[in-house]
């Protein structure tokens, strides 16, 4: 996983709420067995018309590649657990998603792929939407270690956000959970041996 320390970038404002992962990437694009190349199908049914031509009014068709922050409405990433949604956002170029709230599975998927999710109170989200509407070139600075975000031009003062200490450590150092989990294997085996219910419930080989 790529390390994440700070990011200075323009933002894409997508002010919809309850965006489900079927919108982010429709199921018919989940047939690939790799993790890359999903960006071209990001928001496919919103981005393209039925003949496959880009819709000129859809935000992703008029953004520029240097805008790596997605600003969006609450409950982003609800619905299906497909990690392809996080892969598609990352592959498209996003490194940060800012919202009032995220669906739980999506948040885990994003963080497991180095895509930072930042939750901010409703009033800060509104301010960001307003600022970006009046200044399309608005640039934000995200500092993960300090857990704050501000605009480069100073119009938005440093605002704190909260991340889980463990996840922050992983992102800053580019570590993933498997590195940790495999390092505690002995502990896991001890757990298996000591657990009282594992002996009678779901034994390692099934009776059937």
């Amino acid at each position: 996983m790529q390390k994440f320390l700070t990011l200075q970038s323009g933002l894409v404002a997508f002010p919809e709420e309850n965006t489900d992962t079927d919108q982010i990437i429709p199921a018919r694009f989940l047939k690939a067995t790799g993790r890359t190349g999903f960006g071209k199908n990001l928001f496919y049914d919103r981005r393209y018309d039925s003949s496959g031509n880009p819709r000129p009014d859809f935000i992703l068709n008029i953004t520029s590649p240097d805008k790596n922050i997605l600003l969006t409405g609450k409950n982003f990433g609800c619905g299906s657990s497909r990690e392809h949604a996080a892969w598609a956002l990352y592959d498209f170029g996003f490194r940060v998603v800012i919202s009032e709230s995220f669906a739980d599975i999506f948040r885990n998927n994003a963080l497991n792929n180095g895509l930072l999710t930042i939750e901010l109170p409703a009033e800060v989200i509104s301010l960001l939407f307003r600022q970006s509407a009046s200044n399309p070139d608005l640039k934000l600075k995200v500092d993960l270690e300090k857990e704050n975000i501000c605009s480069v031009d100073g119009a938005i003062a440093p605002t704190a956000f909260h991340t889980d200490a463990y996840k922050r450590h992983c992102l800053i150092n580019g570590l993933d959970d498997i590195t940790y989990l495999t390092s505690i294997q002995e502990e896991i085996v001890r757990y298996e041996q000591s657990s009282k219910y594992l002996q009678f419930l779901s034994p390692l080989t099934h009776p059937a």
Binding site: L30, T33, C78, R82, N108, L181, Q199, L201
Partner: protein
């Protein structure tokens, strides 16, 4: 005296291997269910790291999302789908994972297959790369959906790093009226609470209504917990649960069963325990529910009119559906009827739908199809003659799979057309680009198939 504990905490705490200070818990996963769509990248990840699958006997696989529901004995026509399904077979062989692939007598939708085989048990932790894993909570298990990186974590360690969710108790009282099902119950609660009401929480359903639900109804209810934003939902196991498990091939037997029962009987929330949140519903006056919008929270009683939308997204949803505020839902013309999915494709669902359609014909302009949740369900339906009832009425009776729930396999709803579906999501394009979905119970879907429009089951005669 010990502190009172919730059912959820009793199971969770039993599974904590270790706790990371200021971080998540490491929880042990008893059963890992996998399917073709969200597992290939996880297997590839293991191989890249050159580490083995840590506990392959705790993983069970099936093919469901990306399979056709016709001619399953033939090679898959669509190349990408064929490659994905073959990849699952190859990965399972390589890593020694039990696979119920196409044609196998145990094959089926992962959340139908595992419970009916007795793989799903009370007190377990169960995960799957699929958000509807919450279904298994109907047995009093902690079951939740995960992403592919997490699938890989479970492969590598049989554990997951998870922050302990907060707890929510949904108490439901009242007797459901005739024609009102567990599906209507969850659609109603979603319409009241909203689609993010339970974010960060694990739900425990309780109350007299829940106690009176059979196992299939409990699965339908828990299945859609994710649509409220919950990590999962569960119901304390009771005699109904234990009766259901009796004799299932993978459930413990004899001495093991006695030991298991002793533990299972302790799995309930202690009196006086506090939940982080409590919601209460009285459902004695509940009517059959249908959705009118593009998320499962946009539901109303079938005899109501489409409510006024104050939000932009609400207005956008109505525009997508091609409907207006104030219009009645009853009588809306439909082109398709889909009876299936992990929410409502079990034998009881098929029996309910068949009881409505028997002796009737599907409306001339309607394409109606039934997709059993598993091969076992299919066989049972055939044994009971339900397939004949459906076919004589003009339904197609397909082979098991996720089918038209998710617009991934061959079964899709054409753009602009309406489908009344017993599945769980009515998102834009969920059943195929431009498709318009109305969520409902198997009874409502079956009645609507006969009439050709959204129909109140209470107004038609059931045979």
């Amino acid at each position: 005296m010990n502190q009172p504990k919730t059912l959820f905490s009793k199971i969770w705490d039993e599974h904590v291997v270790t706790r990371i200070p200021e971080g998540p818990d490491v929880i042990y996963i008893d059963k890992h269910l996998i399917h073709e769509v969200t597992s290939p990248q996880a297997f590839a990840g293991l191989e890249k790291r050159k580490i083995p699958l840590f506990r392959n006997k705790r993983t069970v696989a099936t093919a469901d999302h990306n399979v056709p529901t016709l001619n399953q004995h033939l090679p898959l026509r669509e190349e990408m789908s064929r490659l994905q399904v073959n990849k699952l077979t190859e990965n399972c062989q390589k890593h020694g994972v039990e696979l119920f692939g196409l044609g196998h007598p145990n094959q089926g939708i992962v959340h139908v297959m595992a419970p009916e085989l007795g793989i799903t048990l009370p007190g377990m932790t169960i995960v799957c790369g699929d958000s509807h894993t919450s279904t298994h909570g109907g047995f009093g298990a902690i079951a939740f959906g995960i992403g592919t990186s997490e699938v890989e974590q479970v492969f590598a360690s049989q554990c997951l790093l998870q922050e302990k969710p907060r707890t929510m108790n949904i108490q439901v009282e009242g007797t459901l009226s005739a024609g009102v099902t567990a599906k209507d119950l969850i659609l109603y609660m979603l319409s009241e609470a909203g689609t993010d009401a339970a974010s960060g929480h694990f739900i425990e359903y309780s109350g007299s209504t829940i106690r009176n639900l059979n196992m299939e109804e409990r699965m339908t209810l828990c299945n859609m917990s994710i649509e409220m934003g919950a990590r999962g939902g569960l119901i304390a196991p009771d005699q109904t649960t234990f009766e259901y498990l009796k004799g299932r091939p993978y459930a413990p037997q004899g001495e093991h069963l006695e030991e298991a029962l002793t533990w299972w009987r302790t799995l309930f929330s202690d009196p006086g325990v506090e939940f982080d949140r409590v919601l209460k519903f009285d459902v004695s006056c509940l009517a059959p529910m249908v959705t009118y919008g593009t998320n499962p929270g946009m539901g109303i009683a079938i005899d109501m009119t489409i409510p006024v939308q104050n939000s932009l997204s609400g207005k956008k949803a109505l525009e997508y559906m091609g409907w207006k505020e104030g219009e009645p839902m009853e009588g809306k013309r439909i082109q398709h009827v889909f009876i299936g999915s992990c929410t409502n494709s079990r034998i009881a669902d098929l029996r309910a739908a068949a009881s409505v359609v028997a002796g009737h014909k599907v409306a001339r302009h309607v394409h109606a199809f039934v997709v059993p949740g598993s091969r076992k369900v299919m066989q049972q339906a055939v044994a009971e003659g339900l397939d004949r009832v459906f076919k004589e009425a003009g339904f197609e009776f397909r082979e098991p799979g996720c089918s038209a729930c998710l617009g991934m396999n061959e079964d899709k709803i054409p753009s602009g057309e309406y489908c009344i579906a017993t599945s769980n999501r009515n998102f834009e394009g969920r059943q195929g680009p431009g498709s318009r979905t109305i969520l409902a119970s198997p009874l409502t879907a079956a009645a609507s198939a006969i009439k050709g429009y959204v129909t109140d089951i209470r107004n038609i005669t059931i045979n």
